[in-house]
Symmetry: C2
Subunit: 169 residues, 2 copies
DNA sequence: GACGATTATTTAACATGTTAATTGATTGCC
DNA sequence: GGCAATCAATTAACATGTTAAATAATCGTC
């Protein structure tokens, strides 16, 4: 009974359809991601990492010495945000930096030994959690979902998600 | 050649498999949401609204006079964040507040006339954009994807996404 | 009907997202 | 070679996410 106008004439107070199609897709993507991340977050937090810091470590676990722009693309973090996050991780001894020899504008980043050790903990736990999650959802459902997402990203223009491979050097 | 160690022995410098399964799902959900939001954002920004402010307006366009907790659940925004955002929108004349008569702890919120007018602009544009988007993806692909997301949210525990209906009053 | 436990909202402190502007380096073209 | 346009990285200013703590009201129980 909180909604005082749910009696008869919704015309004046509620001029919008109760189901707005355009709301569903972004919202469900948000909810779905939240539901998944709730599983992974405790592991990250236990190691003192935020979601974003975890993405950065993961990206650097795959490829060493990439520049900030490439890193930003790979882990979906705005370059401006990276400029604040990376120095923090360097101070904590998880990352190290080094100027690019061929282009003095660029700075490249990599994990330290400590960084690799820390990420190893994240990673082993994450794979375990992902396995459990895949069991709950069912492998085929999961596969379908991932394919659907891939298709959507592809069609709507991955833009930065495309990841142009290497620095074409 | 930015990755100096891509020659022969990746053992010491890259102790992690290049494909980490646990990374794919959250990342693709993030990318997909970004891809979709890129379509809707210009409309919001043109009216001076952030993504979150848009979600709040939309939630309130469906149901009037809901309390902060319920609003937070419906638009997936942390109550602590709402406590900052809502007053801003009240100042801008888009929202109005009123204490709940039956529970003095609660504050309820609704759109103003100006708020409804503003959202009407967002909404008509959004539906148009969504239509175009559905065309690109194909109706069936979109349906499948939405069902997959629903299933995942359901199975992984929607938690707050469940939306317990009313304030059970 | 008083009291401890819970709940709704807010605030503070810090981390990140967003946008615009800045600085230094590189590129393309004359 | 010089210069305008572009680009990489950073910084500033503001909005939001996150966590913990504070406050006030309500509930459950006795």
């Amino acid at each position: 009974m909180a909604n005082t106008n749910s009696r008869s004439a919704p015309r004046k107070t509620a001029p919008f359809p109760t189901q707005m199609m355009s709301a569903a897709l972004p919202m469900q993507l948000l909810r779905a991601r939240e539901a998944v991340m709730q599983r992974f977050r405790p592991t990250l937090r236990a190691l003192g990492l935020t979601d974003q810091q975890g993405r950065i470590m993961r990206a650097l676990a795959e490829v060493e010495w990439i520049d900030m722009m490439e890193l930003a693309r790979r882990c979906c973090i705005h370059p401006a945000s990276l400029s604040r996050i990376v120095p923090r991780l360097v101070e904590r001894g998880l990352l190290r930096r080094r100027p690019d020899a061929r282009d003095a504008r660029r700075t490249t980043v990599a994990l330290t030994g400590k960084g690799r050790a820390t990420f190893w903990n994240v990673w082993t736990e994450s794979e375990r959690i992902y396995g459990a999650l895949a069991d709950e959802l069912g492998a085929s459902t999961l596969q379908e979902l991932l394919r659907g997402l891939d298709a959507m990203i592809e069609i709507l223009g991955g833009a930065d998600a495309t990841v142009p491979g290497d620095t074409e050097d």
